[in-house]
Structure formats: C-alpha cells, structure tokens
Symmetry: C2
C-alpha cells in the first residue's frame, strides 16, 4: 500500500508542482485547500481542477472566517493589492496574511495525526518570493520543533515530515521541474487580484514572479492575462 501524504493545494503554480513531486515520490495524495476571503477565490476552482487531475479522492476545503486574516489579499477595497512594484524581499508586503502558513500547516498536522499520515507537502518557496516570514526555512524548522513538542506523535517519537521541496528553487526551476512531471500550468492560478472572469492582472507580485519564471525557463506562459 502506498504511503499517504497531505498536500496543501492552493491552486497556484507552486502547490501544483509540490503535488506532482509528492506523487512522483510514490505517495498517495490527499489535499487541503482553504477559503479565507482571498480576492483570488478563483484559486479554489484551480485547486479542484488540480485535485481531479491528480485523482485525489480526499480533497478537504476548509473555511476560515475572513476577519481572522486582515490583509491586502483579503481586502475588498479596490487597489488594495500593489501593482508593478519593485519586489524587495527585505520588506514584508501588504499582501502578507497574518499567520497564514502556520494555520494551514496546523490544519494539515491535525488531519494527518487524526488519519495516521506523517507526510505533509507545502509548496513554499524562499527564493523568488515576496518576503513572507512564513516561507523562510527557519520558520519551517521551528514549526517542526513545535509540532514535535505539542502532538502525541511528536511526544511518542513517531516521525513525521513537513516537505518543502520548492524551498530553495527559483520560480523557473519550479516551472521546469513541474513541466518535466507533466503539469499543464494552464490549470493553475497565481494572480492576487484577478478579474471576475478569472483573467490574471499581470501586475501584482505574484503575476510578476510567475511571468518572469516562464520567461527564464524558456517555456511559453499559458496564463490568461487581462486584456488591457
């Protein structure tokens, strides 16, 4: 029987690649996606499409009350998401969502412990990223230590792993690896501030990093951008 892994599947390019890597490593996948009032709820349709593509039977979608996460990413104000800015990873941008990855990983941890699974995959990335504290290697180390101290499996010495296969990869490396594993990135969605019909803005941090990633990888960008 295949070993089970839970993949945090946002519907974006990174989490899709993390899922492909987990599958390629021989895991049977379950997936978890969060609805938290993000402006880009079209992500969730992408996550569902990806779950179907990976033939994931157990895809859990969790609702988090909007007021928990105050951020430009969950704001209904027009213009809340910065556009065409110089990305400087020394600054934490307005699109930072308080404790988001901590909450996502904790849900994954609780579910895995409940199910007897011991592998979590998260597509966090510390190279071509936007300066989020919860995407840095030191955070993941501390999270694992905390989880070992605070769970039954941790205390009993049952090993479990938080896999961050993309942590040290550039966006173009991620795209090349995913393409090699057969992902059609047309299924994925990255834009923070898409049009109601799902078209990407092309100007938010996430679009900028994605665009540059395809360009650097020398792979045609399948993203549907807003017509300007």
């Amino acid at each position: 029987m295949k070993k089970k892994a839970l993949v945090l599947l946002s519907g974006g390019l990174d989490s899709a690649t993390a899922a492909a890597i987990a599958e390629n490593e021989g895991f049977e996948l379950a997936a978890m996606t969060f609805r938290y009032g993000q402006r880009h709820e079209v992500e969730i349709s992408s996550a569902k499409e990806l779950a179907a593509y990976f033939k994931i039977e157990k895809h859990i979608i969790i609702d988090i009350p909007t007021e928990i996460f105050r951020s430009a990413l969950t704001s209904s104000q027009p213009g809340a998401v910065p556009r065409n800015r110089e990305i400087n990873t020394d600054e934490i941008p307005d699109t930072y969502v308080p404790a988001r990855n901590i909450l996502f990983l904790t849900y994954a941890l609780a579910y895995c412990e409940s199910m007897g699974a011991s592998d979590i995959f998260i597509g966090a990335n510390a190279v071509d990223y936007s300066g989020y504290p919860d995407c840095r290697p030191e955070f993941f180390v501390k999270f694992e230590e905390m989880a070992k101290a605070g769970t039954k499996m941790g205390v009993q010495g049952i090993p479990f792993y938080i896999h961050t296969p993309l942590l040290e990869m550039t966006k173009s490396e991620i795209i090349l690896r995913g393409t090699e594993l057969g992902i059609d990135y047309f299924m994925t969605h990255s834009c923070y501030d898409p049009d109601p019909d799902g078209a990407s803005c092309g100007e938010c941090d996430s679009c900028i990093l994605r665009r540059k990633g395809f360009l650097d990888a020398g792979i045609p960008d399948p993203t549907r951008y807003r017509k300007s």
Copy 2:
C-alpha cells in the same frame, strides 16, 4: 485606553479563570471559542454566558470541520469517553485531540496580528491535567519561538505574549484564585460527556479533576451532576 487581550474561552473552569486573571491585569478582553464536534457542545453555551459575564464585545466562534480532529472527544460512539479511570499523566489518553491547542493558538495569533493585539491568554494547566502534550510548558516555549519566526510581528521584533497563568497551578489553586476574582463556577462546564440536558457525568477525567479541585479547595462544588 486599555490594552487588548484575546482569551481562548472554552467555557470550562480553566479558561474562565484565565479570563478573570486577564481582566484583573487590566486588559480589555476579546474571546475566541471553537466548535469542533466536541461531545460537550454545551461548553459553547457556557462560553457565551462567560463572554456576557465579562462584558466581552468581540466573541468569535469558529467552526472547525469535525473530520480534522479524530478523538474520543469528538466521537459519536457511546462509551468513547473513558470513565472512572486512574489518571496517569505518563499516558496520553483517548480524549487527546490532535493538535488542538496548536490550532486554537494559531487562530488566536492570526487574529491578534490582524488586530494589532499582542496578548493571548490560554487556560492550559500542566499540574492537574490529563497528560496532553499541548498543555506542557515546553510546548508553549516552542510555540512562541515558532510564532516569532513565522509572523510579521515576530520578524519585526514587536513583542507578543502567550500568557499561561494557570500552567503551574493545581486545580484547587485555580478554583481558589477564580473564586477570589468573583467567578461563579456554575457558569462553567467541564464534563467531556454530558447528558443532552447539560448535566455532567461525574466520571470522565475532566469531571474527576474538577470534583477533586473543589474538594481540595474546600469550596462547594456548584456542578450539576447526572442523577444516577
């Protein structure tokens, strides 16, 4: 203006006392309560009653999908909750709920960071407890370290505190302190497996510890127990 604190208010004896201590320290309280399929959902009515007693304006009740937390405490099986057992804190009992305090604290953390508050109160207790890993001092130390590495306020050096005022107190000390601060423990609910009308079983770990606490404190036990 008073400083704000968020209290994790389960509706039990411990969290009520933690709230009273926070109020006594001069904080303006907000509260957070979780509905996670616990057998003792009557706790939530107690939490609401306590929130009203403390004149808490912001009381957030969060729903967590039941399947996340597999435990005797969330099981619908009759007899799932152990009765009249010898409490041995070297063993983690079946009523352990996977990663529960991690999830509760993380929600609190996200909300506090969103609101600009920096104080969280949790009524965890490591003396007269049931052997839960996420009630031990070492867990809270690791949680704070993780939170410092994974949040904007942590990275920016903004101090925040997870207050565990009951951590080293016995149940009777907790009851004495709360009584001193004016709490009527009749408002609180501790039983893991109450009757549909809210009467406590008197035989689960939580009832046993509570009963003994009142006895040791020399304070009449206001709990309404099941008529046998």
